[in-house]
Structure formats: structure tokens, C-alpha cells
């Protein structure tokens, strides 16, 4: 396995993504948890993605959820569709096992990819009881590895998209 020189990089207003097959397939599996979210009342992961907007005004908040909740779910589904297509393209581009594959995506696709990976991280952390920075210390090592890996993707992609804003 060769050392990769980048995970994401800017290329003339687009983003080149380079993932291994293992990473792509891990991400594909991980995102399935977003398809199976419960209600915010029963699932801390769902509650994390649908936080209250009007603190101390349950009536206004219920109205908000009624109006915006469905739209938010629709936007997130669209993000996930785009995300899956990127993974397909990376695999078509040669990602298999420890071999990397590459694909070039738009800034909008990269932003959707970033949101999806971040959502997975937020949902897992909420379900694993992370309420404070100290709670990370009590995580099982495997769980910590998962959040670290997802956090790595978030950081790399946020940096590249930040660079794209700089070059506007």
C-alpha cells in the first residue's frame, strides 16, 4: 500500500476525492444509520439532527418542526444520494481494498459529502453519549477510531472547501 498524498484537493474549481476501497465501503455502511433514524423523542441521534429552535416556547417549536422538519429530511436525503454517487465513482475509479480510486466532483457535491459524513459523526456521538469533551475519554477504542476517522474526513474536506472560498 502506498502512502497517499491527499484525500481531497482543489482542482480548478472542482474537488478531487481519493479514497481506498476500504474507506469507501466503510462510509457506505456507516451512512446507512442515517436511513434508520428513529424519532427525536426516542433516538438521541435523530434529536441531535433536529434540535429545538425556540427554547422555552414549545408551541413555536412544534410549528417549526411541522414546517421545517420534513424539508430538512428531504435536503438530507438529497445529500445522501449525491454522497452515494461519489462513492460509486470512486469505486469505478479504482478504489478496491487498500487501492485508492479517484473522482472529480463539484464544490456542491463536496459540500454535500461533507454534511453527510458530519451527520454520521454527530449521530454516532449522540448515541454513544458524548455530551461533553470529557466524554470522548470514556469511548471504547473502536468507537473512538470511528469518530476520529470521520473527523479526519470532515477536517480535510472543510479545509479544501475553505480554500475554495479563499479563491473566489
Amino acid at each position: 500500500m502506498t502512502v497517499r498524498d491527499f484525500l481531497f484537493r482543489l482542482d480548478q474549481g472542482s474537488v478531487v476525492a481519493r479514497l481506498t476501497g476500504v474507506e469507501a465501503s466503510f462510509l457506505r455502511d456507516a451512512v446507512e444509520i442515517l436511513e434508520g433514524l428513529g424519532t427525536p423523542e426516542e433516538d438521541p441521534g435523530a434529536a441531535r439532527l433536529h434540535p429545538p429552535v425556540y427554547l422555552g416556547d414549545p408551541e413555536a417549536d412544534t410549528e417549526w418542526r411541522r414546517l421545517a422538519g420534513g424539508e430538512l429530511r428531504t435536503s438530507r436525503r438529497a445529500d445522501r444520494s449525491s454522497f452515494q454517487l461519489v462513492l460509486d465513482a470512486v469505486e469505478e475509479g479504482g478504489a478496491s481494498g487498500s487501492d485508492t480510486g479517484e473522482t472529480t466532483i463539484s464544490l456542491l457535491e463536496a459540500a454535500a459529502f461533507l454534511r453527510v459524513v458530519n451527520e454520521v459523526r454527530l449521530v454516532l456521538a449522540a448515541r454513544w453519549g458524548i455530551d461533553t469533551a470529557e466524554d470522548f475519554e470514556d469511548l471504547r477504542p473502536e468507537a473512538d477510531d470511528v469518530l476520529t476517522f470521520l473527523g479526519w474526513i470532515v477536517t480535510e474536506l472543510a479545509e479544501v472547501l475553505g480554500d475554495a472560498l479563499d479563491s473566489d
Binding site: R48, P52, T132, V154, L165
Partner: protein
């Protein structure tokens, strides 16, 4: 990928507000959470509101250190829209007068 509409600085309040309530200014507050990374939060503030890196970083640090920060404001409809976009990006945002 500039989605940003130039916004006025949240510290500067409009002097056109009257007492009818229609022009009331609502603040959009982002709360600290231990999971979103600092880099990601800075990116979100820049991307959504068109803030430069220095301003986005200052707001992110305020969230981190003070527990919350008013990141933008405006009429209720705009504040709700901004809040929606922040939620879409996984940030914990609320609205208040």
C-alpha cells in the same frame, strides 16, 4: 460556491425597527457542542454567511469559549431560514429576540 447574501454585522442593530413587532430583529444563536470540529464550524460560518476567515474564526471561538454566539440576525423569516441552514449543517442553532 458563494451562497452568501451579504449580511449586516450582527453587532449593529437596525435603527428602522418600530414598535409594531413586524420589523423585530431576531438573533440566531449557535451553541457549543463537543463533536463538531472547529475547522468545520469556521467553514460553515464562511460558507453560509460569507464571513471572512477572521470573523468566522472569532465567532467560532466565541461559541467554543462562551458556550454560545449570536452569528447573525434579521427579521424572523430570515432568522428561521439561517437557522434551518445551520441545522442542515449539523450545528445547534436557536432563535431569540
Amino acid at each position: 460556491m458563494t451562497t452568501a447574501t451579504p449580511l449586516r454585522d450582527p453587532d449593529i442593530h437596525s435603527d428602522t425597527d418600530d414598535d409594531s413587532g413586524l420589523d423585530e430583529t431576531w438573533k440566531v444563536v449557535v451553541w457549543d457542542d463537543p463533536v463538531n470540529t472547529m475547522d468545520f464550524v469556521v467553514y460553515v460560518f464562511r460558507s453560509l454567511f460569507g464571513y471572512d476567515k477572521a470573523k468566522a474564526t472569532r465567532l467560532m471561538l466565541e461559541v467554543h469559549n462562551e458556550g454560545r454566539s449570536v452569528v447573525t440576525d434579521g427579521p424572523r423569516e430570515k432568522a428561521e431560514h439561517d437557522c434551518y441552514r445551520l441545522h442542515h449543517h449539523g450545528l445547534w442553532a436557536t432563535i431569540e429576540k
